[in-house]
Symmetry: C2
Subunit: 430 residues, 2 copies
């Protein structure tokens, strides 16, 4: 269960010890998290704007900077999701250069987790795991189940028992083995560490975590490339385990080192739900540690009370001159609606967090109105429809008979109900 | 409400009369449907393999063969969805060259309707409509609502009252005006014809239908390009109104005429639910007409009992030497599960229809096992989760305490319940 790559290997963040490539996430000596260290000089000639442009239209165009074993043949066209100029939302929140990175439509399972899972499973196969899995708040479960099915590998997935029904169904449908755990994500994650050891499972975010996490860099590569190989002024990113926001920065730094973009300061802003805000609390307090919390929020995909990369994310954010904010469940739902109404993008609760936090940061003046700001949307609204339940009275509105006169009467009712002027043309049916 | 294009205009299918470009779907003289006729010679130099490859990675790379007004600036990166080699599903159904065209991840609203709506709305704006809309079985409602929001146009959408909750919510969230009609799709559609006239609404599939329908051609262009500018032997396509399958053929014919692909016979196979199968019935009977049906199926996105393009679709299928089949609701659900388990693709009920019909056609020998066959998946499973309700006992399975011993006991239970041998490694916890 080990392989050699001359380009990258596991390295301890703290003591600097190196470990080759194997399923290992923490340093046996000092217990710090391991990360993938690259020999960027070896990559330099192989990772240029031209080589990237000549690649496929998915994350594998960045393969030279991903930890994938030699000879790996990418199978799925994951990623390269749209970066959209958000003029309407920008107008509403007072920003002229706002962009949405839209992983709500990521292939294959509609969240950014598809990126990390595809990199992790490439390594799981190389390491010879017969069963893969994860601890998950939902999106990861969907992605592991789907990609394992496609690869013909068994999957065993552990989740907190109270996840959204759509996320549970969207795991079971791929014939994954799903175990609901009576506890929150942090309980599930601790159990997974034991299970991975005991059963020799390849858990993408446990023993394969360093490989998995590198997949998140592709969000950063894509943003830079889609901005015309330029870095933005600000990134607003949701935070659960704290990994994604750090990896976007790592991606930017690699692009600077390799000369694909000009060096410039980028400020990183983290977004959390107030009901689970250990990292935003840490940033606001100026801590270099986090105080674990017991999650209580509708943003279940962000409900990690003791985030593995929390301290590192907090320090990173503070170091860039950024900030972190958290919003209430009510604001989350408003954020979902605001993004849908203005840009036609239906995101899950985590995206509502990002949208609401972005608005607040602009209002606070922490993000300048003309700065280039990218808000990262990581998942699809169809997975958390229960968060909007009761929000739309129309869902149970009365059915109208299929006649023009009934239709006209109903429109009048609607106009009356919303206290708006009739929106009909003057030549209308009244 | 009219514009001129030297390249395309409305033309009557029957009498051949031409109408320029205006919001009109039927010939005032002979009542036959209008379609867009192109002057392909004008396009010849502008639509080559090279010009397409140099275009953006979405449907606008085919703009030269789409009816979009001069000066139109595409805003949304719609389409260019994955074409996946389906080795696992192929193995299960006995086909070696099976592909899935996967519009379950189409941007922005996860169905092929995004293609048609973007083309229709380009024209709606040119024609000056202040309100757009549609009659819809769900996916179209989602797409019109989302794209209208992004464009800042008002939307008024009419649906059968009993649509799936996820599709209703996924329309309301964009702040569209939604009217639930007490009737089936055919009732809704007739009402929309009256409403479009009375209120001067631009209904994408009513008075804008000829423009709208052309958007479906992009499915065909993409399949040919993704196969390396080759045509497949067979297309299996779900049928509701009967438009998509015809437009894929139109796309192939245009590519042949313009020399982008070699001419070869392609057989077209239509897929319907038995509970609403007017077109497959027509094909099976060898009719050149259809007998309208009253829909009764869980595949609500295909529940059109009196399909506008039904007769034309039936004749076309028969002319290519193809066939049509229909499957029961039980088979539809099995089709959804089969595609998910083998390829990691979660499709809606219509995709279950396509998958189940594809399997049957291969079993019948109507599709040869080594022929290149593309099954067209048009929508996402998260929109029809209710179709799978009760299918997975795990959804309400008991929650397991977060301890290794409890986990081990639960796995044993699962193994017992499924009557399988334990899937654990020999070194496991027993």
């Amino acid at each position: 269960m080990e392989y050699f790559s001359s380009v990258y290997e596991l390295k301890c963040n703290e003591c600097g010890k190196r470990f080759g490539n194997r399923p290992l996430s923490g340093c046996p000596d000092c217990f710090a998290p391991l990360e993938i260290a690259y020999d960027l000089e070896q990559v330099r000639g192989k990772f240029t704007r031209e080589s990237v442009a000549a690649g496929p239209h998915n994350i594998w165009r960045y393969a030279a900077l991903l930890p994938i074993p030699e000879g790996f043949q990418p199978d799925l066209p994951v990623g390269f999701t749209p970066l959209l100029r958000a003029r309407n939302l920008g107008k509403r929140v007072g920003a002229t250069n706002l962009y949405i990175k839209n992983d709500a439509v990521c292939f294959p399972t509609l969240s950014f987790k598809d990126r990390v899972v595809s990199v992790a499973l490439a390594n799981a196969q190389k390491f010879g795991f017969e069963t893969v899995g994860c601890s998950s708040t939902g999106n990861l479960a969907n992605s592991v189940a789907a990609q394992a099915a496609r690869l013909g590998i068994k999957a065993c997935i552990l989740i907190p028992a109270d996840l959204e029904p759509a996320k549970i169904l969207n795991t079971l449908v791929y014939n994954a083995r799903l175990v609901r755990i009576d506890g929150n994500y942090d309980h599930v994650n601790r159990l997974c560490t034991l299970v991975a050891d005991e059963y020799s499972y390849g858990f993408v975010n446990v023993n394969l975590r360093p490989y998995y996490a590198e997949g998140s860099k592709t969000v950063g590569y894509e943003i830079a490339e889609q901005l015309g190989w330029k870095l933005p002024d600000n990134i607003v990113c949701p935070m659960a385990g704290g990994s994604l926001i750090r990896k976007i920065r790592k991606a930017f730094n690699e692009l600077i080192t390799l000369g694909l973009v000009e060096d410039k300061p980028v400020r990183f802003f983290g977004a959390q739900a107030t009901g689970c805000s250990p990292i935003s609390q840490s940033v606001k307090q100026g801590w270099d540690y986090i105080e674990p919390q017991k999650p209580n929020t509708i943003a279940r995909s962000l409900a990690i009370g003791n985030p593995a990369d929390g301290p590192a994310a907090s320090k990173m954010i503070q170091g860039t001159g950024g900030w972190a904010e958290d919003v209430s469940d009510v604001e989350i739902v408003s954020g979902i609606q605001e993004l849908a109404e203005t840009e036609g993008i239906f995101t899950e609760t985590a995206g509502g967090v990002t949208t609401a936090v972005t608005a607040r940061l602009i209002q606070q003046g922490r993000i300048g109105k003309d700065e280039v700001t990218v808000a990262v949307i990581t998942g699809n609204g169809l997975k958390t429809t229960d968060a909007l339940a009761g929000r739309f009275t129309h869902l149970d509105s009365r059915a109208v008979r299929p006649r023009l006169s009934d239709f006209a009467a109903y429109l009048e009712e609607l106009d009356g109900a919303t206290n708006q002027k009739p929106e009909l043309e003057p030549a209308g049916a009244y």
